[in-house]
């Protein structure tokens, strides 16, 4: 009897998610965003991740690198998800100052009532543009896993280009941090079709590793889970 549902699910959902290898070397994401990879990654595609592109090294329940390649003025961040969690959509605006863009990412990452703590936000060159970087700690509501993450972003010709990486604070964030930093440093935005090349390409960002922040947040537990929606089995 129980296999029945399994079969139904397979028929309906086969082909709904897939993984593709991202090869070493130059990779283009979207029309005008590219980066250099020193080693391969896994690109996981499934409905609901738009407008980002999701890469992982260890699997989607462990680490996530999300790439935004040209979010347009008025575009909704992850609309599918907003509908499911009955929270308001967040929309990118071309004239958003840095603090509001970061607040937009924060809002996406706290939709499941995860705890988000901003550790640092400052200007940084990114992909040849004047951009920003931010670092954060997050406690994933679903399983109380403590994560660390960072993001780089820049707005070019009214479009947002960004990378956000998040992984467990234990083992995995330190393991892959440098690799993701290298990708961020190699990122390039090419000019929109028909536009002149940018006047000057800024040097790649230089920054110190955040490693483990000194102050450790204890794990969140069931108090909070009282209002969380459980994983259906």
């Amino acid at each position: 009897m129980k296999y029945l549902i399994v079969m139904v699910a397979v028929v309906v959902l086969a082909g709904c998610g897939s993984v593709r290898k991202v090869e070493t070397g130059t990779n283009k994401v979207g029309e005008r965003f590219s980066m250099q990879l020193e080693g391969p990654w896994n690109h996981v595609d499934f409905p609901g991740i738009k407008p980002g592109q999701l890469w992982t090294m260890e699997g989607i329940t462990v680490d996530e690198l999300i790439i935004y390649a040209g979010i347009k003025d008025g575009q909704v961040m992850h609309p599918d998800n907003a509908a499911q969690t009955k929270k308001q959509n967040v929309v990118f605006r071309r004239d958003m100052p840095t603090e509001k863009i970061v607040s937009m990412f924060e809002s996406v990452m706290t939709r499941d009532d995860s705890v988000f703590k901003l550790l640092r936000i400052e200007p940084s060159s990114f992909a040849g543009r004047k951009g920003f970087l931010f670092e954060f700690e997050r406690i994933r509501r679903n399983d109380n896993l403590r994560q660390l993450g960072f993001g780089y972003g820049a707005v070019d010709d009214g479009e947002l280009f960004a990378l956000v990486y998040v992984a467990p604070a234990l083992t995995f964030f330190p393991r892959h941090q440098a690799r993701v930093e290298a990708i961020a440093h190699s990122a390039l935005i090419s000019p929109p079709v028909g536009a002149a090349a940018p006047v000057a390409i800024l040097p790649p960002p230089v920054r110190v590793s955040i490693g483990m922040p000194g102050q450790r947040l204890p794990a969140v537990s069931t108090a909070a889970r009282a209002v969380a929606i459980p994983e259906p089995k």
Partner: protein, 383 residues
């Protein structure tokens, strides 16, 4: 969803439809039961307790728990003054979550969320909420609801197999579940009022809790999340406020305890306001801070956070409203770092560079180690 529904069943300051009805002095002679003994582990009540014990263990490990000893002692003793001889069976946990909620588990563990502590204005209002929860505990409402939900869900599934008849059946079931809960809420309200009256608090204050929630709900942003998970299913109504007012008329006197309350919670207000704004339900936050500003010793702080909500909402005219609030909040030179940052951010967007620079400088003076200090410094340099 299902789990949420179930866990809240315990529960909480469920907004009821408690109608005014006729109240006589006799209804208010409430005599609490003897202390509740631990039920047999094999019974359904025992199962419920075991589950709540486990939840409580997880709660004790939670990073969201407010562990400040003084604050915990203060609220635990307030609960004790209401619960009388049941005091030893009731354990209060303060949880840092920006929504209006309190809940009582059948095993005696009570959660109070910081969003509720931010919203009540005095000891009497908090006593009204805690008294209501103690009422659910004393009357063992959770157990009744567990049995009720279980029976109805079983019946609903069977009815559900038969098309339209099933549909009608579902509607009928929902209606009975609603009526059932309404009785519990009415009873808990009545017990809460009696307990707070006996502890020397003004029962009139209890109606004000619901009045405030009503104001906030009217400000909801479209279909956004509500200020309380509880109101998603049954909104607070004017009737509830009115019936509490009616009870208050029968139980006059008592104090509000405004100053003693604010003294105890003021060290935490900044964090709780910050959490409130982070919900991204800005219109609700504006309504809340507007209410908390009225005749309050902490009006400046609340005005600063109302400005934050305006600035982040960013609708037409919000920048002007935010600027005006920030300036009023700091007019006596109050050291509200966030207000100066807010002024700077808005002035910067308007290209009023010297105003922006002045405000940023003050912000960095007051808060040199802020996470966004690097960003603000760069704004200052480019101003």
């Amino acid at each position: 969803m299902k789990r949420r529904q179930w866990l809240h069943m315990g529960c909480a300051v469920c907004a009821s439809l408690a109608a005014g009805g006729l109240l006589a002095q006799g209804d208010l002679d409430y005599a609490p039961p003897e202390r509740l003994a631990r039920p047999d582990a094999a019974s359904d009540e025992g199962g419920l307790w075991a589950m709540m014990d486990r939840e409580e263990k997880n709660l004790r490990r939670s990073g969201l728990l407010l562990r400040d000893e003084q604050l915990n002692r203060y609220i635990q003793s307030l609960a004790c003054s209401l619960a009388g001889e049941h005091c030893g069976d009731i354990r209060v946990y303060l949880v840092r979550t920006p929504q209006f909620n309190a809940s009582m588990a059948p095993n005696g563990s009570m959660q109070i969320w910081s969003g509720l502590l931010l919203r009540v204005a005095n000891e009497a209002q908090l006593a009204a909420v805690i008294g209501h929860e103690v009422g659910h505990y004393l009357q063992r409402h959770s157990l009744a609801r567990l049995r009720d939900i279980r029976d109805k869900a079983a019946l609903g599934q069977v009815l559900g197999l038969f098309g339209i008849a099933g549909l009608v059946g579902q509607v009928a079931l929902n209606a009975t579940a609603f009526a059932y809960q309404r009785d519990h809420e009415r009873e808990a309200d009545r017990i809460g009022a009696v307990l707070m009256h006996r502890a020397g608090y003004s029962v009139e204050e209890s109606a004000k809790v619901w009045d405030g929630m009503l104001q906030e709900m009217r400000a909801r942003d479209g279909d956004g999340a509500t200020v309380s998970p509880l109101f998603a299913t049954h909104p607070p109504t004017p009737e509830r406020r009115d019936s509490l007012s009616a009870i208050a008329a029968l139980l006059p006197g008592g104090s509000a305890g405004t100053e003693s309350y604010l003294t105890r919670v003021s060290p935490f207000l900044d964090d709780w306001c910050e959490d409130e704004v982070k919900r991204h339900q800005f219109s609700e936050s504006v309504a809340l801070f507007s209410r908390l500003m009225v005749a309050s010793p902490v009006a400046g702080l609340m005005q600063c956070y109302r400005a934050e909500a305006y600035r982040l909402r960013g609708a037409d005219g919000d920048d002007e409203r935010a600027l005006s609030d920030y300036r009023l909040a700091t007019r006596d030179g109050a050291p509200l770092a966030k207000a100066y940052r807010g002024i700077g951010l808005i002035e910067r967007q308007r290209h009023r560079n010297s105003e922006a620079a002045q405000a940023f400088r003050r912000y960095l003076e007051l808060s040199p180690g802020a996470p966004d200090a690097g960003l603000i410094r760069s704004y200052l340099e480019s101003a």
